[in-house]
Symmetry: C2
Subunit: 379 residues, 2 copies
């Protein structure tokens, strides 16, 4: 009998996940969205069933989940947590990339009770970043530093921001203003976004990039002990300075102002103005680049593990690299759950599987098979 998978959310990433999973003969995949227009993205994929459903209704989701073997969550952040609770309620498994503002580990006990296996934040960053950081840390006797640098960028920098976004400018601006949690001298501290600016050369990238702090460690702050640990966002040089000007000018403020009789926040106005500037143009290539580096001591010697990833827009399939890199680790993990490779009840961040060599190497092989460049260096 075929395994039944429900994909919640048919956005750019949910639709990619649904299409890929529907390619496996042992699966029957249904994708749900509240918006019928969103379902157009999977039209013509015959092995895939697309249906409208109210994904903000927890009771409905519990019922829907009960009819499946596995649920995949690719929902807007604001409704993701309630959907996760609803799936756990059903006792079914969930693989999720909804990037929740809440802490999913709060649902761990409940998941153990219902026998639900939940893997969350399993995109690229958070996701692969966390798995690599956890893998690096597990190879050390003591961990000194964990450094994650990651970004989604247009291939050619377009002035003045040298940036194009694969998602709404409002989300990017949120990332640029949210306080950043990092580890310094073994302590969790809060720093400003866009700070700790540096320039870095990465393999496969035509020119130096800049890197600055953003709040991306999430579960790692709890699961990995290091003297120093941070995540930085990568952009073409000049971007941070220009965002900082907007910030200093009050253009990212959330203090309401009056504009033609409307009350709005400067950040809303700025996001609306940036939208046409940051939109990825038809035919424009973007790429995802990530370096995860873990240093420490191993059998009394200094050691360093480094992974370098780079991936580009897939023209043939019409998939952005950002959608690929967020969706593919989730596809792989969904397969691992279906095949019984991941089965422990509870709510798990990606780094929980860092010691699972079969899962880890399997994911890296899967990504390489999909055309992702992934290099490992040990020093």
């Amino acid at each position: 009998m075929k395994k039944r998978i429900a994909v919640l959310g048919c956005g750019r990433i949910g639709s990619l996940i649904a299409r890929r999973l529907s390619g496996y003969r042992d699966c029957e995949v249904r994708v749900y969205d509240s918006d019928p227009a969103a379902l157009e993205k999977v039209r013509g994929h015959e092995s895939l069933i697309a249906e409208t459903a109210d994904l903000a209704d927890p009771a409905g989701i519990t019922t829907l989940a009960k009819g499946c073997d596995l649920v995949v969550g690719a929902l807007p952040s604001r409704i993701g947590y309630r959907a996760m609770e609803a799936v756990i309620e059903s006792g079914r498994s969930l693989v999720d990339i909804s990037f929740l503002p809440e802490d999913p580990s709060d649902l761990d006990r409940k998941a153990r009770e219902t026998g639900s296996t939940v893997v969350y934040d399993i995109g690229v960053a958070p996701g692969l970043s966390h798995l690599l950081a956890g893998r690096g840390a597990s190879m050390m006797d003591t961990v000194d530093t964990v450094q994650i640098r990651v970004g989604g960028l247009p291939l050619k920098p377009r002035p003045p921001f040298n940036y194009a976004a694969c998602y709404a400018p409002s989300d990017v601006l949120e990332e640029y203003t949210r306080p950043v949690h990092i580890v310094e001298n073994g302590e969790l501290v809060v720093r400003e976004a866009l700070s700790h600016l540096e320039t870095v050369d990465l393999p496969g990238v035509d020119g130096p990039l800049e890197a600055f702090l953003t709040d991306g460690l999430r579960s790692l702050n709890r699961t990995v002990k290091a003297r120093e640990m941070w995540e930085k966002t990568l952009r073409w040089p000049g971007h941070a300075e220009q965002i900082r000007l907007l910030e200093r000018a009050g253009f990212l403020s959330e203090e309401p102002i009056r504009l033609k009789g409307n009350v709005i926040t400067p950040r809303e106005a700025t996001a609306a103005m940036l939208f046409p500037q940051w939109e990825l143009k038809e035919g424009e290539t973007e790429f995802t680049v990530m370096r995860v580096e873990v240093s420490g001591e191993k059998k009394g010697k200094q050691a360093l593990h480094r992974w370098d990833l780079i991936d580009f827009t897939d023209r043939e399939r019409g998939e952005t690299s950002m959608a690929r890199m967020t969706g593919l680790p989730c596809v792989y993990t969904a397969r691992a759950v279906i095949e019984g490779g991941v089965s422990a009840p509870g709510v798990h961040p990606p780094e929980s599987f860092a010691n699972d060599g079969r899962f880890f190497e399997g994911l890296l092989d899967f990504l390489r098979g999909e055309g992702v460049s992934l290099e490992e260096t040990t020093l």
Copy 2:
């Protein structure tokens, strides 16, 4: 019998002009505004009559002007030209600082017919700037360069724009985007605003300023012949670069965008966001600084005339320097018309009086008497 003067517009500058003119015992001054609230600015000045009037109604202005000896125009740009036409219709004289987008010299013939004497653009720049440029040019046999640098600035630069405006940010942004007409190699050419950036040290200013092209020559492009002639706006360093970023980012565009169901232009949104940033704070001192330099040949020798002006907020009177420097040349010229020192029918820009030594020296003495620092250098 007292001379009757009507001041049209009771904004910051109109109210200053009305108050000053009402201090002369031979005058009876009435100030008009469409907005009763605007008239509050002159409350308590017993020798001054404040009345509401529809200043966008030309017929009403003609009637009103007929009952006066002199009209002073201090109106919003968009209604200034029709008011000027209406005063000329009445045959009365007009001294105007309304900064019209139209060319007032088109009304010259009409003014000669009705016997109306009109002096326009008689603020600081345009205004005193033009008079000094014309004076310098009249002292040369051939003029090589005419250079005007002028700005209104906060005493202490406030990051990130290092600027505070005495008028609406929308007007400042207009000035930063309007194409600039200058003279290069004896030809009138059009250049971009904010270009030709330079750094300049000026007497009385605590630190270097930056100067960049803005469109301010207006009548000078017609009345003075030079090899090179331009006006630049003065700001604290860094301002132009930050405005340019906004411009390159599309934040000054007039292409409509949607924002929360409203249709607005990015420039409107930007002006609304800059308003609280650029507002002059309670107790904040601003100043006006101007250098006008004319070089050329005089009796076969190279010569240069330079005027340096600096003026600060008048705390005692509660007047900004920008209002003082725009209003005081207009007050002086109104007195000159009343006293018969200016009487030729027609429409005249300030530089028309450059050869009139009595008017010219009288204005400089008047400004110095009001506390304006004005230095002349001849090389």
